[in-house]
C-alpha cells in the first residue's frame, strides 16, 4: 500500500487523458457536484464525457459517475477501469477499489481508517477526512451530506488542476436566482481544494491543462436534444407515460415548449404535453393527433414499445404518421431498467402482427438526437407511417459533447401529401389510398376540410383505393404491395449511412449504429495503429440505403457491432439485404454498460489478426 502524501509516487500519468469515477449513494445529492466536475473540464476546453451508473431505486443504493477525459476527443467508455476513483460509499468500496487501474488513485474518506481488505499495493490511496471536515463545518445533517460532495470536487480540482475560477463560475451559473447559495458552495470547494494542496503533492500524474478543443461544442444529454428537436420539429402534442430512461424526453419537451411555445397574445399554450394512463393510450393519442393533422409523438422504452404493438400495426396499415422515441434499456421484460442496451431493434423493425415494417432512426450523439427528431416528423408525415427513433439510456441520460444544434432558416416542415379544400373544390380526384405519384405515398385530407368532398373512413381493416372496406383478396394484395413500395420510397427521405474509409485494403469493414460510435472511433485508432485498415459504416436509418449493401459487398467480411445478445441488427441486414450471413461477423456487448473502446478494439483485432475468421460472442445456432 502506498498512501500518497507529499512526495508520493506518480504511477499512472495522463495529461488530459484519463478516467475519473465517483462512487456515491443515490439520493445523496452527489449528482450536481459530480456534474460540476465534468462541466469544469468541458469549460477548460477539453473533451469529456460523463456517465451515470445508477440503480433502479430512489435512495440508498450505490451509484457511480464515470468521467472520461480525452483530448483526442474519444468520449466513449474507455474500458472497465478508472485512473482515479473517488469512493465515498463504504458499501461499494470493495468493488470500487478493484476498478482502479494499476498505478491509479483511490480517494476515500479517511475519517475512519480504511478496511485492510481494501488495500492493494499497486495503487495509490488518497485519504481525505471528508466526514470530519463536514462535521466541523456544518451542523445540519443535510448540509453535511451535500457539502461533502462539493468538498471532494474541490480536492480533486487541486489534485488534477482544474482551474478554480472555472468552478467558481459554474457555481455562479448553477445558483443564478439563489445567490445566497453561491458563497457557501465556493467555501466548500475551497475546503477541499486547500486540504488537497496542503496534504498532497499536486498535481497527480493525471492532470488537466486548458485546451481550445471544445470551440462552440455543447455538453448535453440526448433526451434533452430529442425534446428540443420535437419543439423545433413542430410537435404540438407529446403523449407519454413515465418510464426510465425516456421520461426526460417528455420533460425536456415540456420545459422548452413552456418557454418557446406560448401564444404571445393570449399567454396560452401552443402545445400539449399529456401524461397518458399507459403506453397504449399514449400511442393512441399520438395516432389520433396525427390523424387530425397535428404533429404528435411519444417517448418510451422497451416495455412501452411492447405495449404499443397493436397500435403500431394500426398506424402502419391505416397509414397514420406517428413518431416514437424509444430510449432503449436492458431487456428482456423489466430487465435492468437503468442499464443501457440496443435490444429493441427487431421488435421495432417488425412491430405488430401481420406483415409490417417500420422506419427506424439511429442517433449517435445529441446533435443527431435533435436533427433526427426534427426529421422524424417530416418522414412520418411524408411516408404516413410510424417512425421509431432508437436511442438508448447511455445517450439519452448522459451528458455528451456534441456539435452545436443548428437550424436552417430556409427549411420549412414537409407535411407530406395533403389535399386541401381548394384542391377538392377544384375537382381533384381524391382517393385516400390512390397511388397517383407512383411512389406508394398517397394523399390524405384532414378531418373537417370540405363539406362534401374528401371525407373518408380510416380503419385497420382492408380497404380499396377510395378507403372503402373490402375483403377482396386482389385489392388487399395490391395495397400490401404498395405499402412495400412506399417503404422503399421512404429512402429518399431518411438519413444516409456515414462511411469512413481508412485505406485500400477491403478485407474487413465494420457496421455499427447509435452510441457505439464514440467508443468505435477510439477503437479504430487502436486498430489503425496496429497497422490494419478497416473501414466503418454507421447506420443512421432503416430501411437500408443501397450504400449499405455496396459496403458489405465491397468488403470480404463485415463485423456488425451492437449492444444486444442476438445480433439483431445483423439479422435485419441479412434479411433485408439478402446478404450471406457468413459475411457478417457479430460483435456483441450487452451486459448493460455502454460498449467501450477496449472491448471493440480487442474484438476487431481478434478478427482481423486471426488466420481464420471466427464469429465472436455469437452462439452458433
Amino acid at each position: 500500500m502506498t498512501e500518497i502524501k507529499k512526495g508520493m509516487p506518480k504511477n499512472v500519468s495522463g495529461l488530459n487523458d484519463f478516467v475519473v469515477k465517483f462512487a456515491n449513494v443515490n439520493g445523496s445529492g452527489s449528482s450536481s457536484a459530480n456534474h460540476m466536475f465534468a462541466k469544469s473540464i468541458f469549460r477548460m476546453g477539453i473533451p469529456v464525457s460523463a456517465r451515470n451508473i445508477f440503480p433502479s431505486n430512489i435512495q440508498g443504493l450505490p451509484t457511480w459517475y464515470e468521467v472520461r477525459i480525452n483530448e483526442k476527443g474519444h468520449v466513449g467508455r474507455r474500458g472497465d477501469t478508472c485512473d482515479l476513483m473517488c469512493s465515498v460509499n463504504p458499501e461499494s468500496m470493495p468493488r470500487d477499489v478493484k476498478e482502479v487501474s494499476p498505478g491509479g488513485y483511490f480517494l476515500y474518506d479517511n475519517t475512519k481508517p480504511l478496511d485492510l481488505r481494501l488495500i492493494r499495493d499497486d495503487i495509490n490511496y488518497i485519504g481525505i477526512p471528508l466526514t470530519q471536515i463536514t462535521n466541523t463545518e456544518y451542523k445540519d445533517p443535510r448540509q453535511r451530506q451535500l457539502f461533502k460532495n462539493v468538498i471532494y470536487v474541490g480536492a480533486i480540482a487541486a489534485l488534477i488542476e482544474i482551474e478554480f475560477e472555472v468552478l467558481v463560475s459554474l457555481v455562479s451559473d448553477q445558483f443564478k436566482g439563489k445567490e445566497k447559495l453561491i458563497q457557501p458552495n465556493i467555501h466548500a470547494l475551497e475546503l477541499g481544494y486547500n486540504y488537497a494542496k496542503d496534504n498532497f503533492e499536486c498535481p497527480l500524474g493525471i492532470r488537466l491543462e486548458r485546451r481550445d478543443l471544445i470551440k462552440d461544442m455543447i455538453f448535453v444529454d440526448g433526451n434533452t436534444a430529442c425534446g428540443l428537436g420535437a419543439v423545433y420539429g413542430g410537435a404540438t402534442v407529446c403523449a407519454w407515460y413515465p418510464i426510465t430512461p425516456s421520461t426526460s424526453v417528455a420533460e425536456a419537451f415540456e420545459k422548452y415548449a413552456a418557454r418557446l411555445r406560448i401564444d404571445p397574445a393570449s399567454g396560452k399554450k401552443n402545445y400539449a404535453s399529456i401524461q397518458a394512463e399507459d403506453e397504449l393510450s399514449a400511442m393512441g393519442m399520438v395516432i389520433g393527433s396525427n390523424w387530425n393533422g397535428a404533429r404528435a409523438f411519444t417517448a418510451t422504452s422497451g416495455p412501452g414499445v411492447s405495449l404499443m404493438n397493436e397500435f403500431l400495426g394500426l398506424a402502419y396499415f391505416a397509414e397514420v404518421p406517428a413518431v416514437l422515441i424509444d430510449v432503449q434499456r436492458a431487456g428482456p421484460s423489466t430487465g435492468m431498467p437503468t442499464k443501457t442496451q440496443q435490444s429493441d431493434v427487431l421488435l421495432s423493425a417488425y412491430a405488430s402482427h401481420g406483415d409490417t415494417k417500420h422506419i427506424l432512426l439511429f442517433p449517435s450523439d445529441p446533435k443527431d438526437c435533435f436533427d433526427q427528431t426534427v426529421a422524424a416528423f417530416d418522414i412520418a408525415e411524408r411516408v404516413q407511417t410510424p417512425v421509431i427513433m432508437l436511442t438508448d439510456l447511455d445517450l439519452g441520460m448522459n451528458d455528451w459533447i456534441s456539435e452545436p444544434l443548428e437550424w436552417d432558416e430556409d427549411y420549412s416542415y414537409d407535411r407530406g401529401k395533403i389535399m386541401t379544400a381548394e384542391e377538392l373544390e377544384a375537382g381533384k380526384d381524391f382517393g385516400r389510398y390512390l397511388d397517383v405519384d407512383g411512389d406508394g405515398m398517397t394523399y390524405r385530407t384532414y378531418p373537417g376540410t370540405h363539406p362534401d368532398r374528401g371525407a373518408f373512413f380510416t380503419r385497420g381493416t382492408s380497404r380499396d383505393e377510395y378507403a372503402i372496406y373490402t375483403e377482396n383478396g386482389d385489392i388487399y394484395v395490391e395495397n400490401m404491395e404498395r405499402l412495400t413500395k412506399k417503404f422503399r420510397s421512404a429512402l429518399e427521405y431518411t438519413p444516409k449511412p456515414v462511411i469512413t474509409e481508412r485505406g485500400t485494403d477491403k478485407s474487413y469493414g465494420v457496421i455499427h449504429f447509435g452510441t457505439t460510435r464514440a467508443a468505435l472511433d477510439e477503437a479504430m485508432d487502436h486498430v489503425s495503429e496496429k497497422g490494419y485498415e478497416v473501414d466503418d459504416l454507421r447506420l443512421q436509418s432503416f430501411p437500408f440505403h443501397d450504400s449499405v449493401l455496396d459496403f458489405i459487398e465491397s468488403h470480404d467480411y463485415v463485423m456488425v457491432i451492437e449492444q444486444n445478445r442476438d445480433g439483431q441488427m445483423r439479422t435485419l441486414l441479412v434479411n433485408e439485404l439478402e446478404v450471406n450471413p457468413k459475411k457478417l461477423l457479430p460483435i456483441l456487448h450487452y451486459n448493460g454498460t455502454p460498449i467501450n473502446a477496449t472491448f471493440i478494439a480487442e474484438n476487431i483485432l481478434g478478427v482481423v489478426g486471426a488466420d481464420k475468421v471466427q464469429p465472436i460472442h455469437k452462439d452458433s445456432a
Partner: protein, 350 residues
Amino acid sequence: MSYIKPKFRHPDLPTNRIGLTEASYEGAISTLCAGCGHDSISAGIVRACWELDLPPHRVAKLSGIGCSSKSPTYFLNQAHGFNTVHGRMPSVATGANVANRDLTYFGVSGDGDSASIGMGQFAHVVRRNLNMVYVVENNGCYGLTKGQGSATQDQGSASRKGAPNPYSPIDLVGVALQLGATFVARSFSGDKEQLVPLIKAAIKHKGFALIDVVSPCVTFNNHPGSTKSYDYTRDHVETGVVMDFVPYQEEIKAKYEPGTTEEVILHDGSAIHLHKAESSYDPSDRLSAINKVQEYKDDGKILTGLIYLDPVAAEFHEMMDTSEMPFNQMGDTELCPGKECLNRINSSFQ
C-alpha cells in the same frame, strides 16, 4: 369555411338552417342485422345532427371494434371517420380532439369495447373531461364475436344457452358518475323521442358527455332471461327527468306544469329544460344522481334520461390551457422558435 352549398334534392324535403336535408346526414347502408338496436341509434344521431344544423363535415366519428363500432360508417357520410382498435378509441379521440378543438367529436363504442377491454381508457377519458359525445351501444354482449357476455351483462342475466351470469356487472353510468363525468345520460335505442334531445344536448355540452344506450342485439341477446332484450328493456325503463333541448335563441315548444321545470344554460347559450317528475332528484347533484341510479336498480328498473349534468366544469383544453387556434392549423410561425433562439439554447449547454 364557406364551402357549404345545398346539394340537388327533392324540392319537398325539409331542410335545416344550413340548407341540408336529413338525408345529407346519412351514412352508408348498414350491414348490421335487421332489427339491431345500433341502427336506431345511428338514425338518432342523424336526426340530432340535422336538427342542430351541424355541418356534417365538421364532425369526426371515432370508434373501436365491434358491431357498434361499425356504426359510424352508417351515419354522416361527409364526416371523417376512424375505426381504431378494440377498446382504445378514447385515446385516439383524445389525440384527435387535442389536435383540433374546433370539430365535434363522436365516439361510438360497445359495452365490450368500453367496459371489458376498454375499461381503463374509458375511465381516463372521463377524468380528462374530453369534449366529446361518447355513445355506448350497450347490448350486454359481444355481438361481432357471436354473443359472449360482456362486462355490462347483469348478474343473473341469462346467456343464449341459459346460463346466468355470475359476475358483478359494470354499470358505465355509475362508474362515470363516480369518476367525475360532467354529462351522464342513459337511454334506450327503441326510444328515439328521448334519444335525440339527449344527443343534441350531449353535442352542445362542453366536456365529456356519456350516453349509455341500451341497444338490444337481436341475434345473440334478445331472448327471454336476458335483461338487455327489447322486451325486458321496454318493460323496465323509466325516465327520471324528462329533458328538452332548446337551441340558442329558439322558442320553447313543450309546455309543462309551472314549477317543475328547470333551465340549464350551456356554454353556447343553448338551454336544457329539465322536467322533473314527483319522485325526482337533482341532476345537478352527483351524489343524488348516484343514489337515484342505484335506487332504480334495486327496484329492478332502468333509470333513463339525463342523469347528471355539470355545465361549467373545465374541459380538457381548458385544463391544459391550450391556445384557441387548433394545433393542426399552426404553421412554422407558431411552431418554430427559429435559429437565434437555438443559438441561445446552445449557449446554455456550454
